[in-house]
């Protein structure tokens, strides 16, 4: 437990005056993510500790450097969880890094994303100001929703110091069912099921089988088993953990890994490579050496976006590509103005999201 706000604030203030870029680092578990950027390492991981947690309120507030596993184990003691099922990508993952990256796991498609559960946050802007946004209550529409804007902003609008999240009870019972299917069938099965009143909490297609998780009460799961076909996967929890943490065998090599966000029922895109579908088809992992342009064009044609999630160095050696999907100019202009509004000298994770104009 320690509050090092003042120390962090002083460091940002000095960097702001000296126009010295900072590389924000919590636990370092997600350093692979985003565009390459350099600067002085800004170690925020020591700013840690759960500040407030009252299970009856369904809200937890903690400093950003708090290890994610500490948050999850504290919640678990009270039968609660982070319902967006965040991946850790390493032992050292912090709450702040999780929210800054905006990462969510398999349950996201049915329970909501990291940003959906953000209720408020305290941030340290690029001007060295400490500001609180949002709140610690479940409904709050006072002021612009800056706290949710921070989710996924990769620290480029401010260093997250504290976050308040809505939490939910752990389901009483869960089961995982697998059904062998071809790709097109899999897309149909997952989306047809998602349109029915079933307690779905995960839907993955790994190229061979649709794997679906259901969460309910014990009687609810029993009743469901009578209605839904499929072989029960005994090692269900381990399957979901592997998918979430990218430890499933699909993820095991150094090929560029693309994250495609698409309407879940989008038909197969026809890009070469191998695929794993999560979120009922709305999140598609693609391992391919197809050119970034080809990937982006195919995804954009379907109204989605593509991120070069891992192994960007494969392409960097030839020609640097922005790992995030390029934005139309009017939207990019708003991004730049917002960046300037929070971080006028562009010292926070410079270029990590999009190239900053200095």
């Amino acid at each position: 437990m320690s509050d090092i706000t003042q120390q962090l604030q002083a460091q940002v203030q000095r960097a702001f005056q000296a126009n010295n870029p900072l590389l924000i680092r919590g636990g370092g578990s997600k350093f692979f993510y985003g565009n390459a950027c350099d600067g002085e390492v800004f170690a925020a991981g020591e700013h840690r500790g759960i500040i407030e947690y009252e299970p009856k309120e369904l809200v937890i507030t903690a400093r950003a450097g708090t290890p994610l596993k500490d948050i999850e184990s504290t919640l678990a003691q009270h039968g609660q969880m982070l319902a967006f099922e965040p991946p850790h990508f390493g032992e050292t993952a912090t709450l702040g890094g999780t929210i800054a990256c905006g990462f969510s796991g398999p349950r996201r498609a049915f329970a909501g994303s990291a940003r959906d559960f953000v209720l408020g946050c305290k941030v340290l802007t690029g001007k060295g100001e400490v500001i609180e946004f949002g709140g610690k209550v479940i409904k709050n529409v006072a002021g612009y929703d800056v706290s949710r804007l921070m989710a996924g902003a990769l620290g480029t609008l401010g260093v997250i110091l504290e976050v308040s999240l809505k939490v939910l009870p752990v389901p009483e019972a869960e089961t995982t069912l697998a059904i062998a299917a071809h790709t097109n069938e899999a897309i149909d099965i997952m989306n047809a099921r998602a349109g029915q009143p079933l307690p779905l909490s995960g839907a993955v297609y790994d190229g061979e089988a649709v794997v679906m998780r259901f969460s309910s009460t014990e009687l609810g799961i029993k009743e469901l088993r009578k209605k839904i076909a499929g072989d029960e996967l005994k090692q269900g929890p381990e399957f979901w953990r592997q998918v979430k943490e990218q430890q499933h065998f699909f993820f095991a090599n150094d090929m560029p890994l693309w994250r495609l966000s698409l309407a879940p029922a989008t038909l197969p895109l026809g890009l070469p490579g191998s695929w794993l579908f999560d979120w009922g088809g709305a999140l598609r992992w693609l391992k391919t050496d197809a050119s970034p342009r080809d990937v982006r064009d195919a995804v954009a044609a379907e109204g989605g976006h593509a991120t070069l999630f891992k192994h960007r160095e494969f392409w960097e050696r030839q020609q640097p590509y922005c790992v995030f999907h390029p934005l139309p100019s009017a939207l990019m202009a708003i991004h730049q103005k917002l960046k300037t509004a929070f971080d006028p000298a562009k010292i926070l994770n410079r270029h990590r999201l999009y190239e900053d104009r200095i």
Binding site: I131, I138, E172, G195, A263, P264, A265, G303, G304
Partner: protein, 488 residues
């Protein structure tokens, strides 16, 4: 140039992009637009325009921006915080003609709609597919989805199903520069900053929403409601936390106090116990085995919490009847008082007994009765202050009392608005809830979208000067923020 001189120039500029009948300028035609559902505040706009295509919206924006005329977007005008209150020197841009449902995608579970489509109309259109749009503000038969996005509306089911922000997938927005931005994506997220989240609840101050893709959910197979009576408000309040701590997330969890119970019962005869100090309405939904099991669990929790009686809906007709009393609470209170003023604070649930006690003290002090209707599950209070606008000074008294209630909400760690928005109504309380640095940052956000300050200016975020004048600024450690600011 003064505003009167601008009017003919503006009409001229608008005529090149809009048909004549889409421009209202006579006092008679403007009158219906002078207020939204917060009718205590009224103002006649310079003009009202009713475009029906996105190109026409762009033409309106371009004309207004070039003459520096402010623009106030308006949906169905059911907002409760004066967000659509016109500006005397501004144009009201009504989206009332954008009423088309552009498509329902059954497999992807989305509906693409224009902003003027009524909230309930989306669920009606989705019903043949077994789908619906979850957020259900009590005005859902009349309110428009564009307004829902602008206010980030909630409803009785948002504890389980979320607010508008959780149920929107994509927005098309016309900027003050006349550009069209697509925010979000065909999937569950978009590239770059989450501007979709920022746009939800931005009260028409960042852009004009012209198209919305909402998420649709499968209609739950089964729903059942428990009504529990309590002889003590604090016990009812505690029962709410007990239900949630027991691992149950009800679809709806509502509470009413005795005054609200009696008013509703007299109006709809739902069978509410009129002698109870409070009732809780707890709805569970899901598959039938799950609901039956949870109902048993909730019954036990309520029993333990000291409920004096419990009634479980036997069928949908009874469930709907029990809901009807809650949903009719506002008009029911309207029958027992010439006027009422609805507040919208949210508090941590554990503070409920304290806050209700303070409200009751204030009610006595001001001599104005307060009926309490409460989205208890998510801590969102709707105290209804009863007053008579024909009595000189009562409205002011009601507003003052309302302001004090909101300040109590902030004091206990809550917020001044859970779902109705700030608008003009709660702008002073923003000075209490947010630090000057936060307010300044909000202004910087607006500046990024609207450098000329033309989109609904003056709403939702107070100027630092205004806060200083109110003397309501945060003072930390005895240091007055911004000591160089003039204070009047």
């Amino acid at each position: 140039m003064n505003d009167l001189h601008k009017k003919p120039l503006l009409i001229n500029a608008l005529r090149s992009g809009l048909p004549d009948n889409a421009i209202l300028s006579s006092e008679e035609a403007l009158r219906p637009y002078e207020c939204d559902a917060l009718s205590a505040y009224r103002e006649l706009p310079l003009l009202v325009v009713l475009p029906e295509t996105i190109e026409q919206v762009q033409a309106v924006i371009t004309a207004c921006a070039s003459l520096e005329v402010p623009v106030v977007a308006r949906g169905a005008g059911t907002g409760l915080s004066g967000g659509a209150l016109p500006l005397s020197n501004g144009v009201v841009l009504s989206l009332a003609k954008f009423t088309r449902i552009l498509g329902i995608d059954q497999l992807n579970r989305t509906a693409c709609v224009q902003p003027g489509v009524r909230n309930l109309a989306i669920s009606e259109a989705a019903a043949p597919y077994g789908l619906y749009y979850a957020p259900d503000p009590s005005s859902q038969i009349a309110c428009s989805i564009g307004g829902n996005v602008a206010e980030n509306s909630g409803g009785v089911h948002c504890l389980k199903y979320g607010l508008t922000v959780h149920n929107i997938q994509q927005l098309k927005v016309v900027t003050i520069g006349g550009d069209i931005l697509t925010l979000g994506g065909s999937g569950f997220d978009g590239a770059g900053y989450d501007l979709l989240a920022l746009m939800c609840g931005s009260e028409g101050m960042l852009g004009i929403i012209v198209e919305i893709t909402v998420k649709l959910l499968p209609k739950p197979e089964y729903a059942q409601l428990i009504m529990a009576a309590f002889d003590d408000l604090a016990k009812a309040g505690k029962a709410v936390g007990d239900i949630l701590a027991a691992g149950i997330v009800p679809a709806g969890l509502e509470m009413m106090d005795n005054l609200a119970i009696r008013a509703s019962e007299a109006y709809v005869n739902a069978g509410y116990p009129t002698d109870a100090a409070a009732i809780l309405l707890c709805e569970l939904d899901g598959c039938s085995a799950e609901v039956r099991q949870q109902i048993q669990k909730v019954q036990a929790v309520l029993q333990q919490a000291g409920a004096t009686s419990q009634r479980i809906s036997a069928d949908d007709a009874e469930r709907e009847l029990l809901w009807k009393g809650r949903k009719a609470a506002f008009p029911a209170v309207g029958r027992i008082s010439p006027d009422y003023y609805c507040m919208d604070g949210t508090i941590p649930r554990r503070q409920l007994p304290y806050v209700l006690q303070r409200i009751s003290e204030l009610s006595g002090e001001y001599g104005l009765p307060v009926a309490n209707v409460f989205h208890a599950g998510d801590g969102n209070l709707h105290p209804l202050i009863l007053y008579d606008a024909n009595i000189q000074g009562e409205l002011q008294k009601a507003e003052e009392l309302g302001g004090k209630i909101l300040e109590i909400c902030v004091e206990v760690g809550g917020t001044i608005t859970g779902e109705h928005g700030v608008g003009v109504e709660k702008i002073n309380q923003m000075c209490v809830q947010f630090s000057p640095l936060a307010l300044q940052q909000f202004h910087a956000v607006k500046q990024a979208f609207d450098p000329q300050q033309l989109l609904n200016p003056g709403k939702a975020v107070p100027s630092l000067h205004r806060c200083a004048e109110l003397g309501a600024m945060h003072v930390h450690g005895g240091k007055l923020p911004f000591p160089d600011l003039e204070r009047f």
